[in-house]
């Protein structure tokens, strides 16, 4: 007696690898065209010139190369990255823990949610200059600036992620006699991880803003110093190069995080 159940649709589901590869190649072409368009527009704008203080794309690239060659770019990044990375790690660890706790327990939610909602919506940047008065102009103040901006968004996203877990999955776990701890570790955290990661990405963006503001408002060091210095001596191409580099760097950091998420946490995403 044939115990197996047959599924006619199973036979139909075959991946179409040819199509997927083709569209991915098309995207690469579009990306390149997009970058080329941007550089071209910048170059033209610089040559017009729309403003005496607006260098061309090529001048900016040249200045960038020069700063790499003489080591000033590297030195600047090392100084900037220290408080940034420390601040982001602290914000991520504390933020996700607090956010998850808020999602799991009503009392924690009640205490924490309003504070973080206010902190996220409000322009916390105004407080950054104040931070120096208590913590001086050193590393601590800059780490605090990063945390001030990154923490609220990470907390709120983690909280939202845990609160919106698919209740059917939790019921399923209960029906198979999962304990509360098993529910949290095997169902809630994996289901919440995409939104938590989205929060981490937003947190990284916010962290970059925090460190830039700290360097422009408190004391210039690192990249902020490069920007301020070259502006003061009217090396506009160098100034633009420094600014562009931080923007590119932040975009790269975010892409890296996305890659990490797809590879390790939610592997099913990379197949779609």
């Amino acid at each position: 007696m044939d115990a197996r159940l047959e599924d006619p649709i199973a036979a139909q589901i075959a991946a179409e690898p040819g199509e997927q590869a083709r569209s991915r190649r098309q995207m690469v072409w579009w990306r390149l065209a997009s970058i080329a368009l941007f550089c071209l527009a910048w170059e033209i704008a610089g040559r017009v010139p729309i403003n005496l203080a607006f260098p061309t794309f090529s001048a900016t690239v040249a200045a960038f190369a020069e700063m790499i060659a003489d080591g000033s770019m590297l030195k600047a990044y090392l100084l900037t990255l220290q408080p940034l990375i420390i601040g982001l790690i602290v914000s991520a660890l504390v933020g996700v823990s607090v956010g998850v706790a808020m999602g799991l327990r009503k009392s924690v939610e009640w205490i924490g949610a309003p504070i973080f909602i206010v902190l996220q919506a409000a322009p916390v940047a105004a407080v950054i200059p104040m931070v120096t008065f208590v913590y001086g102009i050193g590393l601590t103040a800059k780490v605090i600036s990063v945390c001030l901006l990154a923490l609220p968004v990470i907390v709120l996203n983690s909280y939202k992620a845990v609160a919106n877990v698919n209740p059917s999955l939790i019921n399923m776990c209960r029906s198979f006699l999962g304990s509360r701890l098993q529910q949290i570790v095997k169902i809630i955290l994996p289901d919440a991880s995409p939104v938590i990661f989205a929060g981490l990405r937003l947190g990284i963006s916010a962290g970059f803003i925090g460190i830039i503001l700290a360097e422009l408002l408190i004391t210039p060091t690192g990249i902020g110093d490069l920007i301020t210095y070259h502006r003061a001596v009217a090396n506009y191409a160098h100034m633009y190069a420094a600014i562009a580099s931080i923007i590119v760097f932040s975009a790269a950091a975010l892409s890296l995080l996305q890659w990490v998420e797809e590879k390790w946490i939610r592997p099913e995403k990379k197949r779609s």
Binding site: I13, S179, R266, E268
Partner: protein, 273 residues
């Protein structure tokens, strides 16, 4: 409040069928459920579920059939009444009952084999052993070769098979199915029904089934419990006497089958808006 068993002139019934002589593996006594103080989903339900039989809870939407199933599964607590499993009172889920969800409830981040093995994983079984058991049931439901796929790569019908395999893998005595075939298309649904009948011949378990489809109920069940509209009460119990030894198409044209369907329809008609 009536528990009437109606019998038809019967051709030979291979499942031998005097239901009352079988022991009840699950009983519910005096179950009532009220939502938010106002919605009376169930009122005073008394039922016995014979071991080894497939009993269907059938009724119009809002009659509380899914609520009753979840109470039996232990996923919901009744306001009054008890659930007895093998004679002992239970509150909450247990290893002797396994649930199949209407929306599949698959973990989208896990492969098919991990999903099927999940019930065993929660019990602490070693990975090699539970995956081996899982693969066996994956093959039994016809998904051999799809072990490493993710739910989003499967059709609705395939996903439900995963849910079914998962419930089978824990080797519970009672399988509770909550409208398991309602989220798939008609052809797949019919195939599922036929497959379920064949499955019953191998897995001698008790099945409690919830559906709103009269034909499905008559096709599959040894016993059909008709529930009335809110507040849900048992209005009738029917034991279809249908010869299920023929091919699926023969069964669907069998006289007794068609008569039973018609009769139930007439009973339920009064509840349609």
């Amino acid at each position: 409040m009536v528990a009437v068993t109606r019998k038809f002139p019967r051709p030979a019934d291979p499942h031998g069928a005097d239901m009352t002589s079988l022991e009840s593996i699950i009983s519910v006594r005096g179950i009532s459920k009220v939502y938010s103080g106002q919605v009376h989903a169930l009122q005073d339900v008394d039922l016995d579920f014979p071991a080894g039989a497939l009993t269907t809870l059938l009724g119009p939407s809002g009659c509380g059939k899914t609520t009753l199933l979840k109470i039996i599964a232990g996923l919901m607590a009744p306001n009054t009444g008890d659930v007895l499993v093998k004679g002992r009172k239970v509150t909450g889920p247990g290893p002797e009952r396994a649930f199949v969800f209407q929306d599949f409830a698959l973990m989208p981040w896990a492969t098919v084999v991990r999903n099927v093995a999940f019930g065993l994983e929660l019990r602490g079984m070693a990975e090699a052993k539970r995956h081996e058991i899982a693969r066996r049931y994956i093959e039994q439901v016809g998904l051999a070769g799809f072990e490493e796929k993710y739910p989003h790569e499967l059709s609705g019908g395939m996903r439900q098979r995963v849910g079914l395999a998962r419930a089978l893998a824990v080797d519970a005595d009672v399988l509770l199915l909550d409208e398991p075939f309602s989220a798939v298309d008609e052809q797949t649904r019919r195939k599922f029904q036929e497959d379920l009948l064949r499955l019953r011949e191998i897995e001698r378990k008790t099945f409690i089934f919830v559906t709103h489809s009269i034909e499905e109920a008559v096709y599959l069940s040894d016993r059909i419990v008709l529930l009335s509209r809110r507040p849900g009460r048992v209005s009738q119990i029917i034991a279809p006497q249908i010869d299920r030894s023929g091919s699926p198409d023969e069964i669907r044209r069998d006289r007794a089958y068609l008569d039973t369907v018609e009769e139930i329809w007439q009973s339920l008609r009064q509840f349609v808006d």
